[in-house]
Symmetry: C2
Subunit: 452 residues, 2 copies
């Protein structure tokens, strides 16, 4: 069994809701939208991601015999409900922003239009996928902004929250502009370029460091990057210099070194100088070890001669903002707009569209959120991607999404590029048509007998 | 394909290291240990978790034809290496602390003893599993300490970092003392009790709230818990009271209500009072919505009459400390202890054991970390769990692990139970035998010609 595609990857209350919907024949069309209510303090924008995983999930949705047997024996569910689940498929429509599109609070990035039981059942997994990839793409973009011309590699699998987090973090960060990942399975599943050097344990397993370097280089003559911080970084750099003639004679080119601890700026300068004096001017310096976008910015501001960075834990856990206030809310049922009014959690009702407006320089100026049928000027960001349960197009390549994300980042005004918060938030207008609908619904609800 | 069991769930450098180890016939026995270097500021202790997932992974480890074909075409690997991988199985030994055991920085909780290529290859996934479950069990224990007599339910799937995070968070929090989870697949995979109520969308899809309550209750007459915050919490509580006679006549017992927004303490008091005046004294009040251990503590300190809590995002992302400084380090190779000396990342060499000492009251007093062959008084915490690639025992039930964790929590001294940091850290002594070995290794390394 592959748990990642199981229809039981949902909350119990989705199944109880489904039994109630079936029992009461509430199978009219429901419209749910996914959006983020507000930004974490250190974020000025978000990058939409995770759509293709959602479409895969919707296309594959079905209960097999084992799933149904488990539900039947659970005790809370009726026999005829279990049989209704057997035939359940996702037959609805999905509208979404393209992955790698910048977005802001209160803007729907994905809309599901489907018979109520289908639209309800998929809530948990849909949020699970889009929330996580969006969180990571948004985090990764910050390193791309901090070090736009450097090689950036995801090193995070080991401290990602489980296997799927490692795989999807590799995907999301690649879309956002990372150069690749160290996670082999992400390379094989998503065709993301793979990067890797050598391990401390390899050095330690040798009785001396120079032998470890030689043993590594002879096996990988074309991709020799030495890890040089196991004992003493500068001493190891000198060992590399001493080995260089012997390696070059054997046809081995020293591509570079990796630093993983200590004062990276100081070590990088020392190593650069040791290498340059020895004529190893082409050998690159790659740094890793508790890095994040702030350290990248500081290292580059300090002029550290570092060519690339491996970023792990802070990226894949989005450690400064490990979640977004992301939700998937009912906006319409049976042709009527719906609105939740819980304090601090009220929603804008109806099917919505987001229109983007640019400055003369092609930078983001402001967005307008309005009802789908309130057609406006500006670039509409939500497009149909699935109709009747079928994708409208084959999944785009990650490289196409990455190119789109790169164009999107180029539209970010200077203020929003800051790593620290405290900037004027991007302007997202709620159009009059949407405000009027919300007010009308509230009024109906305050006058019992009209709607309630 | 089930990605969660793939041997490609590793970092590229593990495969490059393996090719080098095979090429140089470095297949002697390696000893790696997993430990946490230091605690996050808000943690005073950790709960070991994830061992059974690691043992599953080690037992199942093998490269199938598709994996090998992918490696062969990648370009960095030799044909004979790919054939060597075909035969690779995990044939080593594992020593570990039982899941649900309290532990502290610098204490190994898991040791792998295996031929070097095997022990190296599994590093990424082993850390990925143990790090995450330990992070979550340690976080969950704090809610258990804050609300020891309340029903605590994991509500986190939707904002967990991918599917596996949702599943393993349910498992880890159950071990730590939670009552159950809302995640259906975690219930079916791990036999964790499932909890669920109703959704806002169900209420909103009805034209009035009372009809939604009736529709829900008639389908679930034995497990009727109403969600009452969609529009106005107290008004909804009064609707429940008004419906009670009609429901009771139909044989439906109102088990309780859930509050999900607003001032939970005030709403709980109001609802309790409305229910008690109406004779619904048995109806329980369950709360959810952006909860964590601090809010639990404050709600209970304020005397809020809440019987249970659903805890989601903060739990499954361990939002205040989304990662631990957890590593898996080479401690011995080919019979010789090894030590990494990178600044801030130096390790204690050799195969180690942790001895625990208790006060006369049965509370934790201090631990001693020493070499395995330096047998001491106290309770040794690491035990063999796998020998020659085979588990020594069938996996324990989660209920057995949960009972163990509960006994462990009872040994926590008062100071370490505090939710805030700033307490005197628990005493972990490094035994003289271990210090002497580390000093001897450093000395050898400083005198070139002796070891290097």
């Amino acid at each position: 069994m592959n748990p990642l595609t199981s229809p039981l990857l949902t909350d119990l209350y989705q199944l109880t809701m489904l039994q109630a919907y079936f029992a009461h024949r509430m199978q009219d069309t429901a419209v749910f939208e996914f959006f983020v209510r507000k930004l974490p303090p250190t974020r000025n924008f978000m990058f939409a991601a995770g759509l293709e995983q959602v479409l895969d999930f919707l296309e594959q949705l079905r209960f097999d015999d084992d799933d149904l047997a488990w539900i039947a024996q659970h005790g809370q569910f009726r026999k005829n409900f279990v049989e209704q689940l057997r035939g359940l498929r996702f037959t609805g429509d999905v509208y979404a922003m393209r992955e790698g599109t910048l977005f802001f609070p209160n803007e729907p990035i994905l809309r599901v239009v489907a018979p109520m039981p289908q639209a309800q059942l998929v809530e948990s997994r849909l949020i699970n996928l889009v929330h996580f990839e969006t969180t990571i793409a948004s985090k990764a973009a910050r390193s791309v902004l901090a070090a736009p011309d450097k090689l950036l590699v995801d090193f995070g699998l080991r401290r990602a929250h489980g296997a799927e987090a490692g795989l999807l973090a590799a995907r999301a960060s690649y879309i956002a502009g990372f150069s690749g990942t160290a996670t082999v399975l992400a390379g094989s599943m998503f065709h993301i370029p793979l990067f890797g050097t050598m391990a401390h344990s390899f050095v330690e397993a040798h009785d001396d460091e120079a032998s470890a370097f030689v043993d590594f280089a002879t096996v990988f003559p074309d991709s020799t990057i030495f890890l040089i911080d196991t004992y003493d970084t500068e001493a190891a750099a000198r060992k590399v210099v001493a080995l260089a003639p012997q390696l070059q004679q054997a046809g081995i080119a020293i591509r570079g070194v990796r630093l993983d601890s200590g004062d990276l700026a100081a070590h990088a300068r020392n190593v650069r100088s040791i290498f340059d004096q020895a004529g190893l001017t082409n050998a690159t310096i790659f740094a890793s070890g508790n890095l994040d976008e702030y350290r990248l910015r500081d290292l580059l501001a300090a002029g550290a001669p570092i060519d690339g960075f491996g970023i792990g834990t802070s990226l894949v856990t989005s450690s400064d903002a490990p979640f977004l206030d992301a939700v998937y809310k009912l906006q319409e049922y049976a042709g009527r707009p719906r609105r939740k009014r819980s304090p601090g959690k009220a929603t804008w009702p109806g099917r919505k569209q987001v229109y983007r407006h640019y400055s003369d320089q092609g930078l983001l100026d402001h967005d307008v959120v309005t009802l789908e049928d309130d057609v406006q000027a500006g670039t509409p960001l939500l497009q149909p991607v699935m109709l009747g349960g079928k994708r409208l197009q084959a999944p785009p390549s990650l490289d196409a999404l990455r190119a789109h994300a790169k164009r999107e980042l180029a539209t970010l005004p200077r203020d929003l590029r800051a790593l620290d918060g405290d900037v004027e938030p991007y302007r997202v207008e709620i159009a009059p048509a949407l405000r009027e609908l919300a007010a009308r619904l509230d009024k109906q609800r305050r006058e019992p007998g009209t709607a309630e």
